[in-house]
């Protein structure tokens, strides 16, 4: 069981690392091409929401997964014994 947990922690941390790298790549692409991206967003065409929503989804998925995995196997695990479910 302990080995399984450790394995899942390792997998989660590896996934977090890959997601962090993906986030860095996404941010690099957006900020090095910010003029072009801004022009699309100012266009008031359907490309504007398509672009912004695609970037938002990708950024939140990559960075969110990384942060969630890291906190799940550190802080959340540590606080497990202190959980309350009362109103």
């Amino acid at each position: 069981m302990g080995q399984k947990n450790s394995q899942s922690k390792k997998t989660a941390m590896l996934q977090a690392l890959l997601c962090l790298i993906g986030t860095a790549v996404l941010y690099f692409i957006v900020f090095t091409n910010s003029d072009q991206v801004t022009n699309i967003l100012k266009s008031k065409s359907y490309y504007a929401p398509l672009t912004s929503i695609s970037i938002v989804l990708l950024a939140s998925f990559l960075y969110g997964t990384a942060v969630s995995n890291i906190l799940k196997h550190t802080l959340q695990e540590r606080l497990k014994s202190q959980e309350l479910r009362e109103e």
Partner: protein, 368 residues
């Protein structure tokens, strides 16, 4: 990073700010504070985020657009986290989002109309007045609830405990729907009304949670942490629709949104974890503390925006002083809220550590 890009012509509010390291760091901080509050309260990050961005010089409508666009992704990740904890009533969320769509649509049209008719200062004034009016009402309502809870035992004993909200909650207007996760049975019409109000506020000031969460708690009678989780689930839809509409109108600055994410996705996870180690009453306490301070902050800014519109005369020094006072209340509310949440998480962490140490001590004694 690109400098400020100004769009000429009629849309004077569209001003893409210069992205300096200081701006980026401020956005990270705003995102972190908003994220913690959002994860803990279900929404409510925009209590702080929209006015804080406005205080940085971002026009009101663009601050709302950035916030609602960022809320879309944050809500997906936050709801996923809350769902892991069993805090999301998807049936309630799905019922409410139909009305919520209509609410956002009405609000975005109104915001656009205000901007076209009154300009940037008028739009800022409108958003601030909406903040003050709504926050004052919600804080007064919650204050009365806390007061009532204090006297709860005595009132119940004398049979005077039935309030307007309890009467509304008990309306049996068919069809009635059973919400399994929340553990309540409520009128479909009531759920739709709460959804519309939440959507309208989300579209108007970039936040709907501070009306949606109290409404779910008091009008629909669901537990505080389920209200928080369900509100985040609901925010996915309001965020998606708001993000789409504001982007279609050219108000989204994606750079602001991306810097907000760096802080807010850490914060939303911390906040969600925080709900596991506190009681429902502690969640309400954080909410009401923040609401009062943000209402004061926005109220202070109303004369400043009136002065910007040329409706009243105000000296530069007075202008700066009032703005500073508003910022103190605004950032103070964030600090108070996040401070309380982090303090409780830290206390739980210490308790867990202490418990672990004592368990290790007991097992080593048993081994001897």
């Amino acid at each position: 990073m690109a400098g400020a890009v100004e769009i000429p012509a009629a849309a004077e509010a569209i001003k893409f700010i210069a992205m300096t390291p200081k701006t980026a760091l401020s956005l990270f901080g705003i995102g972190l504070v908003g994220g913690v509050l959002s994860g803990f309260l279900g929404s409510g990050g925009a209590f702080i985020m929209t006015p804080a961005m406005m205080s940085m010089g971002i026009p009101g409508i663009m601050a709302v657009a950035a916030n609602i666009t960022h809320k879309f992704g944050k809500a997906i990740m936050g709801a996923k986290k809350h769902s892991e904890f069993g805090n999301v009533d998807m049936r309630m969320g799905l019922v409410m989002f139909v009305a919520l769509f209509a609410g956002v649509k009405v609000a975005v049209s109104m915001n656009k109309g205000v901007l076209e008719k009154m300009g940037a200062a008028g739009s800022n004034l409108y958003i601030s007045v909406m903040f003050v009016a709504i926050l004052t009402w919600v804080s007064w309502f919650m204050y009365r609830d806390i007061k009532r809870q204090r006297n709860g035992a005595a009132e119940n004993a004398s049979g005077k405990g039935s309030t307007l909200t309890e009467k509304i909650r008990n309306i049996n207007l068919p069809p009635m729907v059973h919400f399994k996760v929340a553990g309540v049975r409520a009128s479909l019409w009531l759920a739709l009304l709460v959804g519309f109000a939440t959507g309208f506020l989300a579209g108007t000031i970039g936040v709907g949670g501070f009306i949606g969460v109290p409404a779910m708690i008091y009008l629909l009678g669901i537990p505080t942490y389920v209200a928080a989780g369900t509100e985040l689930f609901l925010a996915i839809f309001s965020g998606a629709q708001g993000a789409f509409l504001y982007a279609l109108n050219g108000y989204v600055d994606i750079r602001i949104t991306l810097f907000l994410y760096l802080g807010s996705l850490i914060g939303v996870n911390l906040g969600a974890i925080g709900t596991r180690v506190v009681r429902g009453s502690q969640i309400k306490l954080v909410m009401v503390s923040i609401i009062v301070m943000v209402a004061l902050s926005r109220a202070a800014m109303v004369p400043v925006y009136l002065s910007d519109m040329g409706r009243i005369a105000m000296s530069h020094s007075m202008h700066d002083m009032v703005t500073l006072l508003s910022n103190i209340f605004l950032y103070g509310s964030g600090l108070v809220g996040v401070g309380l949440i982090m303090m409780w998480i830290l206390q739980a962490y210490r308790r867990a550590e202490k418990q672990e140490k004592s368990e290790v001590g007991v097992s080593s004694q048993a081994a001897r």
